[in-house]
């Protein structure tokens, strides 16, 4: 009965592609999401999706590979990058075939624009709503395929058992039904995690949705999976100064300038994000304000190509970029690290797969290129779906789930019994400030050490925190406390990884160790649940 089942946790782009591909491979698929499909982080992707199509000037798969590897600062896996970039034209063809409403060129091809670190106009786009339009089209495809989607279920645990060789294998997941706080256990021969990144650790200093709390990564760790490269968190150069809301890189791709208070340009606006973010940070450290200037692009162009940027700037910064400078700062945007997967998107737990931002397919290395994350979720979402379906088909083990419901109930009861003497929301805001200051664009060994002490203190204080709302109906206070708990775990691992990496590489920049140390650190940081670090090629 359980054989042939695939559960996908997460309904962003990676989850929905994985679901479609597992379904097409003959598996019985259920998608479980803590919100509703279409409300995920993917809808916030604006700039585009990379593929060397040469629709807007000459490009090649080789250039795409080369740019991606360069931006990754030696930490990407060349085979994985090659696979990503070679699959890209096909991925775009597929998206086009299911109805994604891409912007078009004059000669009726998918329109492409230039993003940072790219040698050609490579990012295919739909105005500046690329992620939204891809995500919604994928959702419609899932409905057409009749894939079951369970809304508002919060992931508690990935349930595992061990076979005779002591290898862990997946048995299913336990979730909390948000609407009534019931524990639900879903048995499954295979599970795909597509649960997104953890940039909400940075609280208000992040472009991310409030849901990007790393739940899937934390649960994978608890289930025995490994995580890697956690110290590599990308800062997006241009978020609105007041609200941290993203202003797409496509604004710079189209010719937007970065200016300081004196009205001077101070960097190459189209360098990779790590370099631009550092340049902005340097100006701000000098006491300058930093602005994005797209006025010279003109109202017609802005309304045609960047309508969302204009809307967001008006709404959240009260300025009109057609006439005004846009005040910006750099904030946490994307988790390059995540659940360690092999070239089949599989974790070390048999039957447990991961795709999208929660996974580390080692294609971004130390710094992701704009336009590669939407691509990644299509290419590796498909791969994860196919492989999970294949594994599920051959599944012949016993599932052991009898204890799970009561142990999850016990866990929830324990959290509810905490005294709530310390407001965890305040602590989350504090954690965000701490991370933005010490684990941000510029890091220092001593500050990282101090931050780790602070985070460990917060973890110790967890039993003094808790919730003020004991309701069983839609208890978002409880969900947010569990999210905070997961974020603290991941904060600790991020800090340990950052402390151990005594060098600077891509998004991980240490003022006390400002150079790349290829001898020691041209390797992936692998960290286990207990915080033990090792390095692997």
């Amino acid at each position: 009965m359980i054989k042939n089942n695939v559960i996908v946790v997460g309904s962003g782009g990676a989850g929905l592609v994985a679901a479609l591909s597992a379904h097409a491979s003959g598996a019985r698929v259920v998608v479980i999401t803590k919100e509703y499909p279409t409300r995920s982080q993917t809808c916030m992707a604006q700039g585009g999706i990379n593929a060397a199509l040469s629709n807007a000037g000459e490009d090649s798969v080789e250039s795409h590979i080369e740019n991606t590897l360069k931006s990754a600062h030696g930490l990407a896996d060349e085979d994985a990058v090659r696979s990503l970039c070679e699959s890209a034209p096909e991925a775009l063809e597929w998206l086009d075939s299911i109805g994604v409403p891409f912007s078009r060129t004059k000669d009726s091809k998918i329109a492409q624009r230039t993003l940072g670190g790219a040698s050609a106009a490579r990012a295919c786009y739909a105005q500046d709503y690329t992620g939204l339009k891809i995500l919604h089209t994928l959702y419609d495809r899932c409905l057409a395929a009749g894939i079951e989607i369970l809304n508002e279920r919060y992931l508690l645990e990935c349930i595992t058992n061990k076979d005779e060789d002591n290898t862990p294998y997946i048995c299913g997941v336990s979730v909390l039904n948000k609407r009534n706080s019931e524990i639900e256990v879903f048995a499954s021969s295979s599970v795909i995690l597509a649960t997104g990144g953890y940039s909400r650790i940075f609280h208000k200093h992040s472009t991310n949705s409030v849901s990007s709390t790393g739940d899937g990564i934390a649960s994978a760790l608890r289930a025995g999976a490994r995580v890697s490269d956690m110290e590599f968190v990308q800062f997006h150069p241009t978020a609105l100064k007041g609200s941290s809301i993203l202003i797409s890189e496509s604004a710079r791709g189209a010719g937007g300038f970065l200016l300081n208070s004196k009205g001077e340009r101070f960097t190459n606006e189209l360098a990779p994000r790590d370099e631009v973010a550092r340049a902005i940070d340097e100006e701000i450290a000098k006491g300058e304000d930093v602005f994005l200037d797209i006025r010279h692009l003109g109202a017609e162009f802005i309304d045609e190509e960047l309508p969302q940027e204009r809307k967001l700037a008006k709404l959240y910064e009260n300025i009109d970029p057609v006439h005004d400078l846009i005040p910006i700062k750099s904030v946490a945007h994307y988790s390059m690290g995540g659940i360690e997967v092999d070239k089949n998107s599989s974790t070390v737990v048999d039957g447990l797969y991961a795709a999208g931002e929660c996974a580390n397919h080692k294609v971004h290395g130390a710094n992701r290129l704009g336009g590669n994350s939407l691509l990644e979720l299509v290419v590796f979402g498909k791969q994860a779906g196919e492989n999970a379906a294949k594994y599920a088909k051959g599944f012949d083990k016993e599932l052991e789930l009898s204890e799970q419901k009561s142990s999850s109930e016990k866990f929830i009861e324990e959290l509810k019994s905490y005294p709530n003497e310390i407001n965890f929301y305040e602590k989350h805001a504090l954690l965000g400030e701490l991370f933005y200051k010490n684990v941000g664009i510029r890091r220092d060994g001593a500050d990282l050490e101090n931050s780790l002490i602070e985070v460990k203190k917060l973890i110790e204080e967890l039993p003094l925190m808790g919730i003020g709302d004991q309701s069983k109906e839609c208890n978002t206070n409880l969900i947010e406390f569990m999210e905070f708990k997961n974020m603290l775990e991941l904060s600790k691992l991020t800090l340990i990884s950052a402390i151990c990496r005594e060098e600077s590489r891509g998004a991980h920049f240490r003022v006390d160790k400002p150079y790349e140390d290829n001898e020691k650190f041209k390797a992936h940081t692998i960290i286990n649940r207990d915080g033990v670090v090792c390095y692997e090629d």
Partner: protein, 236 residues
């Protein structure tokens, strides 16, 4: 400022020391500092995920794009089951996308779209499924099987796309509890945070339906006397 929030049968008043903030920021401030039991949904904070739709002073808004004012009265969306406080169950509204078969009927290759083709449904594909239109729709309020604004807009999105090769099936699907049940009152347009007019999309779908041989069933009961074309010839 003081904010009044409908919580089940009661109205709770909260006072927060904030000015010039979005309603979502105000709600978050209340939840994190005053009352952790206040329940609402949110996501992107930037008007693109559709999670935080609710009603303020009688009108549907996204909490993240509405600037809160002293004395605002906040309620959950109408026409959906309230799960708690400002959170409603969207399952039913979402289910109409399936019922309306709001997808491209098959995958196609080698159909190229011009810039003009792309413009036809550019704005419709901006939809974020926030559900404001179902809350404002007076037809959905009385006919819970009405396919409703966002799913009909979604059908138009696909029907109007050159990549849809079987528009007939799409049009067939929206005849019952669909395009003819709409009263064209335009309430959906007025509340859409993405400036989509489902009413206009429904009118376009009606025109397509007529081309496919369907008639407005509301006119049928008048004995067909209204069914003559512009030149007086019978149009059926």
């Amino acid at each position: 400022m003081k904010i009044n929030i409908k919580r089940d049968a009661e109205v709770a008043e909260y006072e927060v020391d904030l000015e010039n903030k979005t309603l979502l920021e105000v709600l978050s401030e209340i939840k994190t500092t005053l009352d952790p039991s206040l329940t609402f949904s949110s996501g992107c904070r930037s008007s693109v995920c559709g999670s935080c739709s609710m009603i303020v002073n009688g009108k549907e808004v996204l909490a993240c794009s509405y600037h809160a004012k002293d004395g605002d009265f906040v309620e959950p969306l109408k026409n959906s089951e309230v799960i708690r406080d400002l959170v409603v169950n969207m399952d039913k509204a979402y289910s109409f996308n399936s019922k309306a078969k709001a997808w491209q009927s098959s995958t196609v290759t080698n159909i190229s779209l011009t810039q003009e083709d792309e413009k036809i449904n550019e704005i419709q594909s901006d939809c974020i499924l926030c559900g404001s239109c179902y809350s404002a729709c007076p037809v959905y309020a009385v006919n819970e099987e009405f396919l409703g604004p966002f799913s009909l807009t979604r059908v138009w999105r696909y029907v109007s796309d050159k990549r849809e090769v079987d528009t007939k099936d799409k049009i067939d699907t929206i005849q019952t509890n669909g395009v003819w049940d709409c009263t064209l009152c335009n309430e959906c347009t007025l509340v859409c945070p993405q400036d989509i007019s489902s009413k206009t999309d429904i009118e376009k779908l009606r025109a397509r339906s007529s081309m496919a041989g369907y008639m407005d069933p509301n006119f049928g009961s008048f004995g067909g006397s209204f069914l003559s074309g512009d030149d007086g010839s019978p149009s059926f």
